[in-house]
Every structure is written in structure tokens, then in C-alpha cells.
Symmetry: C2
């Protein structure tokens, strides 16, 4: 780790990043990567602290990936402030910030996609059909560029975590994909860069997303009917002004539809829109 | 290089292969990979010699990849004789043979594909729609497992060479993808494992594939009409008993349709069936 007094090195090229990691590895260091799209909040910083706890060298990537936004989504408006992000990371002793330009990741003639089925099917893919293709491709590239021993992702994007874990295992990339528990505000709202889009009134309503998940999980744990618990959560959210994309109970390891809720690891997942902001959350059951 | 007196080490797992290359690289060695599906012929051995000429350590992979065969194709019948292949490689001083089982490359739950557009569009893809998806996925995995500095492919499979070069560049895999000129019999037939399927009569006819390419290339070089040259080659081949899939002139670097034959690098490519055997060939113009 750098000692927190210097700014982390900013690396702009894939070749430069590969050379840096190779030098660290040659010196016996374990390397961790925290991939981000910038707009760093306390949730990201907790991931960075977790990375520093398991590795000798920490890379944070900052790349707002156009391939995972649909034309109607908020790519252009997505918040960007690299200088502020880097300053926050310096205080945590991050060694390198990998911040490539779009043309470095998607050069002229780029023609390759990494596509995942399995955990990528359904849920977020129903609302955002191109999302996981874009995520899997860019994260494969980040893993190849940064060559980390471990990569840390927030469980807030739970389906993404499982998609990336599957992709890395399937391609044989030698990286441990580790999920970190979701960081929440005191009122339960999962931290997300997109929370900045919420109006004050919406911000007051937003924690009901987590509360509805907790109620449904309690009902399911108590042996209640799964379909009834999910319907109740949906009704609660709609009554609060959410437009619900899904409230779903899935196998926590594969995201497959649950066959027997008493004999599988379970995860409860929700996506809903509040005004113009789409929020997601999930909890174990 | 091993000294040619010992059998090369046989490595069956991705993790084992990654560890071996990491150890070699740590000792300062340059590593070359020659990917094959076994059934090694003199063309493969020339690729291995080329690899040995540019690297300190040579890996040959032997993996008959089910994902690049359609259900109607010859996956089950494809010739396999690992012991004979390894013996031939030992004589060339190959250091390691990476020969994983199908379940090591495609484990239970495997859900990831690497897909390439660009050079993969048309030509072979018209006849074999799943082919390059299967090739790109397995070669990405072989590159990640073997982590070579250079990988050598025969130009006989020219479209495959360009697809793999594009895939490796797009994913940022730090490997130089090198094409080696096609090795031919004295009568001009490109060496191919599938030549073993030809009857004696078909084997006598097969060199006309290369001869037809040469005639068409000569006509194009002399300033003749491209469409007429391609049509003449098709007619010649059909008269000899071939069923022609395509005879095509393409940009030699991108495989794009040629806009101006006087101002682009050109490659002439052919695919045709002779009895039950599908043959491909190509030459520069």
C-alpha cells in the first residue's frame, strides 16, 4: 500500500496496467482490484478498505462503461469527477487508479463481446437487455488488464456479482471474485451513485425498498407462502409510489428460480423506479 | 526448450498450466503456444518449429473443441491419437503439452461465450454459423490458461487467424498472434487433418483447389475483372467435382469486402466440398 500521503499513480493504458501488476507480482505482492464507475461514495470506500485488508497492492479502476448503458439511459449524465475520486482514494492508500479513456477500452474496429447466460438471465436483463453483456465484456477486460488476485464487488449489485463470478470462472481468469455486504444509510437505503438523482421527497420514500424486502424475508423465514410474501411487498411499494420491475426470490448461488425454499440458499431481490430513478436492492433470506 | 530426449510434460488443468507459465516467466523465459486439435501433421510441426525459433519455452495444446463443431459435423469422428502426437512433439523439444479434458474447459454450469463480429462475418460463418463463436471462446480460454507471449496459427485457416487476432486485441490479452504460411504437399494441397477423409480419387482432385486460386489470383494481378476471375475459378472447381461454398476476394487485414482492389492488401479465399470432405484454402494476391 502507498502510505496515504501521495496521490495514487494514474494509469491510462492496458499495457501500462499489465506492466505495473507484473512488476508487483514479480516482487511477491498480492494484488486486489476494486472496479468502479467513479462517483465514489462511502460504499465504494468500504470495498477499497476490504481490498486493502486482503492484498498488498490495491488498484481502483474508474471507467464509465458506455457498453452497459442503453441509448435511453444515463451514460452522458452519469456523475464524473475523477479528481475528487482520486483524492478520496489517496487517503485510503490506494496504489494505482486505472482510468482509461473509452478509446483505450474500445479501440477502432472493436468487435468482441463476452456474453453470459445462466445467472444473467431474467431480473435485470428483462429491464436492461444489453446490461450484462456490457458488464461481462468490460470486466473481463479489466481483469485481463489489471490481472488481480482478488476483485471486490458490492452485493448491492447481486446479479452482477454472480454474472462476473461465473464469467471469471468460465474463462479461467485466475481471480477470486469476492462480494462485500451492501453498505446502507442508517435508514436502510443501499448506497448508490444513482441516489444523487432522488428528490428530497423521493429520498424520504426510498428506504421503504429495503423495508419491504425485510418484511417479505421475515414472512418467508416464518414459513409463509412465497408468492403471497412477494405480492405483499409489491403492493406495499406501489402504495408508496414505486413502479416495481420485480420482487423475486432466487437461488442465492445460481439465481435459478427456487424449487424448494427450505433446501436452497435464498436471495430476495427487488428493482423499482421512484420517479425517474431506478433503484435495486437485495438481501439474504 | 527441452532437449528432445524427454517426453514433454502433459498438463491437464488450467491452474496447472497457469502455474507452469508463471514459473517460466518468473525465470525470464519467453513462452510460445501452438494451439491444435491433435491429429498432428507436418503443417503443425512447422508451426512448432516456428514457435521454438521465437521463444524459450513451447507449449502445444491439444483439445478437440466440441463448441466449434455443429451437431452434424465430425466431432466424434475427428481423429485423435494423443500418444502419437506427444511422441512427435517430443522429437521437437516441446516443453509442455496442454491436453485438458472437455470437462476442464467446459465445467458444469458453463455459461460464457466470447463472440466476434468484424472478420468473423460471412465466408466460413455462412456455412458454419457457430464455428467462430466456438473458436473465439476456446482460444480465449487457451490464451488465459497458457498466458503465452506469442501464439502461432497456420494461415490455412486465414479467417480464423484474423478472428483470433481481433479477439486477443479486443480483450487486451498480451499475446502476439502470428500467422505462419500454409504448408502444402508438393502438388499444392494445403495440409489438413481432414485430408485423411479423402478417397484416393478425391485426393488426386483436391490440389485443383489451390490451382484454381492461383489462376484467379494471376488474372486479378494482371488487371482482369475480379467477378469474372472468381466465376471462372468456381466453374473450374465445379467441373472437377467440387461443390463450391465460396470463392471470394477480401481485404487481407479485415476480411471486409474489397472496395478498390488496386489499393488494398488482398486475400483470395475458397471453401468447397469434395464428396463428404469440406476443404478450405487461401492465398495472398
Amino acid at each position: 500500500m502507498n502510505d496515504g500521503n501521495d496521490l495514487p499513480e494514474r494509469i491510462r493504458t492496458v499495457a501500462g496496467m499489465q506492466a505495473r501488476t507484473a512488476a508487483w507480482r514479480g516482487a511477491g505482492a498480492q494484488v486486489a482490484l476494486v472496479p468502479t464507475m467513479g462517483a465514489l461514495h462511502d460504499g465504494h470506500l468500504q470495498l477499497v478498505r476490504a481490498a486493502a485488508a486482503v492484498a498488498d497492492r490495491v488498484i481502483v479502476s474508474i471507467f464509465v462503461n458506455p457498453a452497459q448503458f442503453a441509448p435511453t439511459e444515463d451514460f452522458a449524465a452519469y456523475p464524473r469527477d475523477e479528481a475528487a475520486d482520486v483524492a478520496r482514494l489517496a487517503a485510503l492508500g490506494v496504489d494505482a487508479v486505472f482510468a482509461p479513456a473509452v478509446a483505450e477500452i474500445y479501440p477502432d474496429g472493436f468487435a468482441t463481446r463476452v456474453a453470459v447466460d445462466g445467472p444473467a438471465l431474467g431480473l435485470e436483463s428483462d429491464a436492461r437487455p444489453h446490461f450484462f453483456g456490457g458488464v461481462a465484456t468490460v470486466v473481463a477486460k479489466l481483469f485481463i488488464a489489471c490481472a488481480p488476485d482478488v476483485a471486490i464487488f458490492g452485493e448491492k449489485d447481486y446479479q452482477q456479482l454472480l454474472v462476473i463470478r461465473r464469467m471469471a470462472a468460465d474463462l479461467g481468469l485466475p481471480v477470486a471474485v469476492v462480494g462485500h455486504p451492501t453498505i446502507r444509510s442508517a435508514d436502510g437505503l443501499a448506497l448508490s451513485s444513482r441516489n444523487a438523482y432522488l428528490s428530497p421527497g423521493e429520498r424520504t420514500t426510498a428506504p421503504r425498498l429495503h423495508a419491504a424486502l425485510q418484511s417479505a424475508a421475515d414472512a418467508i423465514r416464518a414459513g409463509g407462502d412465497v408468492a403471497a410474501a412477494l405480492a405483499a411487498a409489491t403492493s406495499e411499494l406501489e402504495a408508496s409510489g414505486f413502479a416495481v420491475d420485480y420482487v423475486a426470490l432466487r437461488n442465492a448461488e445460481t439465481l435459478a428460480v427456487v424449487a424448494d425454499p427450505r433446501n436452497e440458499p435464498l436471495r430476495l431481490l427487488v428493482a423499482a423506479r421512484l420517479g425517474r430513478t431506478r433503484l435495486i436492492d437485495n438481501i439474504p433470506v
